[in-house]
Each structure stands twice: as structure tokens, then as C-alpha cells.
């Protein structure tokens, strides 16, 4: 079995961000799909790994889809009709490396 390579992104939000993990991921996935399209969404295969604090969280992506995920984070300016932007602070192969940030 071939092990799929992943990348983790440390993301900080500016503005109002939903607090619930499930709600945040559902809204984020919808926006990412709108940015990259249905055909590219599978390439990213995003997952919300951890909410570090109310403004910072960690997203997981496949290695091949990391560029698209960073791009979507730059293009998303609204979540659920409310102004919300995201800064991609760091990308790494492990969550532990991101936690040091």
C-alpha cells in the first residue's frame, strides 16, 4: 500500500469565525469548493485537524493540493455572509512542527 503524503497548514483568521469545529469545517469546505471547483476539490481533500485557539486552526491537505488550498485561503473573504479573511502562516509535514510556531 502506498502511503499518501500530506501537508498541514497553520491558518489565522481575521474577522468573525464560527466557533464550532463542525460548523467551521462545513463553511470552509463550501468556500474552498467554490474557489477551486468540484473537479479540483478532491485533489486538496481538506480536513480540519485542530483548533489551536479561537483565531488559529490547522488544516490538512494532500501534498499535490497544497497550492490550491493556500490559494483558496487567499481568495476567501466571506464565511456565511460575514466578513472573514484567512492568513496562511506556515506549511509543514507534521502538526508538531506547526505547533512550535
Amino acid at each position: 500500500m502506498i502511503r499518501e503524503k500530506h501537508r498541514y497548514l497553520l491558518v489565522e483568521s481575521v474577522g468573525e469565525m464560527p466557533q464550532g469545529e463542525r460548523e467551521l469545517f462545513s463553511l470552509l469546505s463550501r468556500e474552498i469548493m467554490q474557489c477551486v471547483g468540484e473537479s479540483n476539490y478532491h485533489k486538496i481533500n481538506p480536513k480540519l485537524m485542530k483548533i489551536v485557539n479561537p483565531k488559529v486552526f490547522i488544516l490538512k491537505s494532500t501534498l499535490t493540493g497544497i497550492s490550491e488550498l493556500i490559494l483558496s485561503m487567499a481568495l476567501i473573504k466571506r464565511l456565511d455572509g460575514k466578513d472573514c479573511a484567512f492568513y496562511t502562516l506556515k506549511a509543514s509535514g507534521t502538526i508538531r512542527a506547526l505547533s512550535k510556531q
Partner: protein
């Protein structure tokens, strides 16, 4: 590699925020570099802004460091003058990040064509966020991806955001 960005005069950027976003410095319009446009004369170094090609040409001949074509239309005469005067083409990525839907798609297409032409003519291109507020700021990684979206290679985008952006204030 040190990265630099340029933002609008209303955007408040602290040194700490610039460092967090991965930039060595974020320049602010009318602070580190002036903006010259319709009827506005600025002290050097300055960036020419506008869509009136004749006015942009006269500003470039007057010594503008860079020129930002706000409607993104390609004017061959203007591009020739930019090449002759080693003027940098400044591309504000806020045209992409601050628009939505069809307008965003149209802006990406226009910027892509402008960048392709500038690259062919060997005019240096600076990708800047030109954010109006901190809501439209991007980290260096996001700015690189936005540059790649409009046709730049990874290497070109990195050089543009580091060396070319630094030249905007020199």
C-alpha cells in the same frame, strides 16, 4: 530570501504583523513610496497609477519607479516606454482578492494577459497585495500562489515578491 509587500495608505500594518505574514517589510503608499495619478504630482520614489495611457507615459518619462495600469489593458506604446525606462509593472492582487464571481474571473484573465505580454517584453513585474485594509492582506505564501494563478512560475513569483518589490522604493 526576504519578501516585501506594498499596501494602500489606509491599511495599518505593524512590524509584528509583517513578520507574522513572512515579510521583511510591508511598504505603505504615501509613506515609503508616493503614488502619482490624475493631477497628483509626487516626490520620488513614486509609482504611477491610472488607466490614461498618455498620462502614464508622461509619468514614466518623469521618472516613475513603477506603473500600475488600473484597467489592466495592454497598450503596446506604453509597454515600450516602460521597457525603455526600465519601469516596473506593478500588479495589485487586490483586483483578484477584492472582487467576486464573474468580475474576479474577468480580472484574472486580464491580469494574466498583461503579465504574459510584460514577461515576453522582459519588463519586470512586481506582485503586490495593495490591500485597502488588513482584511485584504496576504501572507507571502498566499501572494506567491496568487502570482502563480495569473501565470507566473514559482521561481518568477519568488523573485518578484523579493527583489522586484524591494526595488519599488529605491
Amino acid at each position: 530570501m526576504d519578501f516585501y509587500d506594498l499596501v494602500g495608505q489606509d491599511c495599518k500594518v505593524s512590524e509584528q504583523l509583517a513578520m507574522k505574514l513572512g515579510f521583511k517589510k510591508i511598504f505603505v503608499i504615501n509613506k515609503e513610496v508616493s503614488a502619482a495619478g490624475a493631477g497628483v504630482k509626487a516626490s520620488e520614489p513614486f509609482i504611477a497609477f491610472g488607466k490614461d495611457k498618455n498620462q502614464l507615459i508622461s509619468l514614466i518619462k518623469a521618472g516613475a519607479n513603477a506603473a500600475a495600469i488600473t484597467d489592466s489593458y495592454i497598450d503596446k506604446k506604453l509597454m515600450d516606454v516602460m521597457k525603455e525606462n526600465s519601469c516596473i509593472l506593478c500588479i495589485p492582487m487586490s483586483m483578484v482578492t477584492a472582487s467576486y464571481g464573474m468580475e474576479r474571473s474577468r480580472n484574472i484573465y486580464k491580469i494574466k494577459k498583461l503579465f504574459e505580454y510584460a514577461e515576453k517584453q522582459r519588463i519586470d513585474v512586481a506582485f503586490v497585495s495593495m490591500a485597502k485594509s488588513e482584511h485584504y492582506l496576504n501572507s507571502y505564501m498566499q501572494l506567491i500562489e496568487l502570482a502563480k494563478l495569473v501565470g507566473a512560475s514559482d521561481h518568477y513569483a519568488r523573485i518578484s515578491i523579493s527583489a522586484t518589490n524591494k526595488r519599488l522604493i529605491e
